[in-house]
């Protein structure tokens, strides 16, 4: 990934808001806490050069052996003696491509107490993930189950994050002796105007590398970029840039039943104005529907499944449709824990359908993936994990990079993870 200059104004504004809030509340009891993760990783890839290096490889690492700091994450929280809390998550990665450190998320949260009927209001404001992933609920938005995230959530980690306001309503069933809770959220946001770029020009990937808030991501060598109709596109995409000054929205509904079942549904629409083109970045109008389920099959076995389907549109500043794609991805993950041992397997299927007729830019893709992961818990904080990823895909655009259209890529990873 390439560095870019920090969007200093927004970042400094956010940080000064955080510090101002802390000083205003200095008369309250303030509790600070820091949690984190270090993930040291060895990988071996049998495939082609990685998408992180501007190519079409589906995995995070390049072919052959690699050593990397898979994750170094710090989650700093400040809890006030009132409904407010502050959350800042910084993340660092050190691998063969770059060493990068920056913000992953940073937001203020307000969570009121439920009322006697079990209705509760809460809100978040800042840089945050939408409530989509059912895999990435551990420190630093990592997964307790696998080293590489599903293709669906790898994309969320790379392109889908926003700066905005999330309003939540929850109904806790225990207040009227019901065994289930329900919740609804509505989010309004900016800074997610190019989402869809990577999915279109590069396709689905299976990664564990989230884009940091200040980063840009290299685009693969789509033929139309070189002296042709895509020549004005910058060589990198900036997933969290604001171009059209319009608000996008995300609606989420969820249902959970005791400790047995969670269902998550939602619709995301960045409501982008595709006529805007600035600093080499096109505005992409991207919409998708997502659904997920997390259910326990007995005491120590769990099934997680998610599905996402949507479309994206990019036009010229005069309104001519130039990229118009449909896409979908789904997975089923099964995990079983026995004492210190955790066994996980995941099956996936994904596609991108190119609906425009523009030459030199074929975005079609179809693929399947299979993951097998074993984790051993050494003690409370240390985990050792071994994982095998197999991914078969058809992507005609790989000819732009002199790579085969049909390809099977394989990845082996070993990791030592320290959570605290």
């Amino acid at each position: 990934m390439n560095k870019k200059k920090y969007n200093k104004t927004t970042l400094l504004t956010l940080l000064s808001c955080l510090s101002l809030n802390a000083s205003i509340n200095s008369s309250y009891a303030v509790e600070q806490s820091v949690t984190g993760l270090i993930d040291l990783r060895y990988s071996y890839v049998d495939g082609i050069d990685s998408h992180l290096d501007g190519h079409y490889g589906k995995f995070r690492f390049d072919p052959h052996s690699n050593l990397a700091v898979g994750h170094a994450a710090i989650n700093y929280q400040v809890e006030f003696d009132n409904p407010l809390s502050i959350h800042a998550i910084a993340h660092a990665f050190v691998d063969e491509f770059d060493s990068e450190i920056g913000f992953e998320q940073a937001f203020i949260k307000y969570q009121d107490l439920p009322n006697p009927s079990g209705h509760r209001f809460s809100a978040r404001a800042g840089i945050m993930y939408p409530r989509i992933s059912l895999e990435n609920n551990a420190t630093g938005w990592t997964s307790p189950y696998t080293l590489s995230f599903s293709t669906l959530n790898s994309w969320i980690g790379e392109e889908v994050r926003y700066t905005g306001l999330e309003l939540n309503w929850d109904k806790l069933g225990k207040f009227d002796n019901k065994k289930y809770d329900i919740g609804l959220s509505a989010s309004f946001y900016k800074h997610n105007d190019t989402v869809g770029t990577l999915l279109s020009w590069r396709g689905w990937t299976q990664s564990s590398r989230q884009t940091l808030w200040h980063e840009r991501v290299e685009i693969p060598p789509v033929a139309a970029r070189f002296g042709n109709w895509l020549r004005h596109q910058a060589p990198n995409t900036d997933p969290f840039i604001e171009l059209d000054h319009r608000y996008g929205y995300d609606i989420n509904a969820r249902f959970s039943m005791a400790n047995k079942l969670k269902v998550n549904l939602g619709y995301y629409d960045n409501n982008a104005d595709t006529l805007v083109f600035k600093r080499g970045q096109y505005t992409w109008d991207t919409k998708f529907t997502y659904a997920g389920i997390n259910t326990k099959l007995g005491k120590s076995t769990r099934l997680i499944s998610q599905f996402l389907i949507g479309d994206t549109l990019m036009t010229s500043p005069r309104g001519r449709k130039v990229v118009e794609n449909d896409y979908q991805s789904g997975f089923v993950l099964l995990t079983h824990r026995r004492g210190k041992h955790q066994y996980t397997t995941r099956l996936e299927e994904f596609s991108v359908t190119d609906n425009d007729n523009m030459p030199l830019d074929n975005n079609n893709e179809y693929g399947k993936a299979w993951t097998l992961s074993y984790q051993y818990r050494l003690n409370y904080n240390w985990f050792l994990q071994g994982e095998y990823n197999w991914l078969q895909s058809n992507r005609p655009a790989r000819v732009y990079d002199n790579e085969p259209v049909d390809l099977i890529e394989r990845q082996w990873q070993l990791a030592a993870k320290y959570y605290w």
């Binding site: 009891a29 509790e31 806490s33 949690t35 993760l37 989650n75 929280q77 809890e79 006030f80 003696d81 959350h87 998550i89 998320q105 937001f107 949260k109 969570q111 107490l113 439920p114 009322n115 006697p116 509760r120 978040r124 993930y129 409530r131 609920n137 551990a138 420190t139 630093g140 938005w141 307790p144 806790l172 225990k174 809770d181 959970s256 005791a258 400790n259 047995k260 079942l261 969670k262 997390n294 326990k296 409370y380 959570y419 605290w420």
Partner: protein
């Protein structure tokens, strides 16, 4: 009162003379020991109340721990005007609350924090939760008497050094049915030991377990 069968055991006569312990045995509708149910004795006249108030040994302080993201114990009892200590033994922050009318409270308690002390001025049945971990559920029963106990494995609550007098016996558990919750029994001590049989089955206890059971979850969504 009429809804509950009270069986007096004559065999226990020797044990219930003044200076001997009084044993209350609570059993379920199926006759099994009702472990965990609270039994307490309220002085029922002025003279008895004076004797109870003069009892030398105060009961130990009640401590409610937050351990493994659960309330431990699930059900605690305290006397009104006595300190209750909340002790967070987890390495994360909890936000404990109760919405009960006259016992409403909430506070955040960080890891490694000194215990939070609360005091309740009147009898109440207090349901508690954690606003960060919604699956946590606990109960605190506040009673106007030092004479209380939680039924042991064999369903027994033993009262030692009980002053002679007139009492009202009450039993309580959050999972009890309404019929049993409205039960109380006059008791004149010295008395025979008492067995209380609940009329309704106890509901199952909440598991107090999160759906996602990884130890390093991010609690910000």
């Amino acid at each position: 009162m009429t809804a509950i069968k009270v069986i007096l055991f004559s065999a226990a006569l020797l044990c219930s003379l003044p200076g001997y312990a009084l044993t209350i045995t609570v059993q379920t509708v199926t006759g099994q020991p009702a472990q965990g149910v609270v039994a307490y004795l309220l002085p029922d006249d002025v003279q008895t109340r004076q004797k109870v108030n003069a009892l030398p040994a105060a009961p130990p302080l009640t401590t409610i721990s937050q351990k493994d993201k659960k309330f431990a114990p699930y059900l605690a009892v305290t006397q009104s005007h006595k300190d209750v200590i909340f002790a967070n033994q987890d390495n994360i922050t909890h936000h404990i609350y109760s919405l009960n009318g006259h016992s409403k409270f909430d506070f955040k308690i960080a890891k490694d924090a000194q215990g939070k002390t609360l005091r309740f001025e009147q009898a109440d049945e207090i349901a508690m939760g954690c606003n960060i971990h919604d699956w946590m559920a606990g109960h605190l029963l506040v009673v106007d008497t030092p004479l209380y106990g939680i039924a042991s494995k064999n369903g027994q609550v033993v009262f030692d050094s009980l002053p002679n007098g007139q009492y009202r016996l009450v039993v309580f558990h959050p999972q009890m049915g309404d019929v049993d919750k409205s039960f109380s029994q006059q008791l004149s001590y010295p008395a025979l030991d008492v067995t209380v049989t609940l009329q309704q089955a106890l509901q199952s206890l909440p598991t107090q377990e999160n759906m996602d059971d990884f130890d390093f979850l991010e609690a910000y969504d």
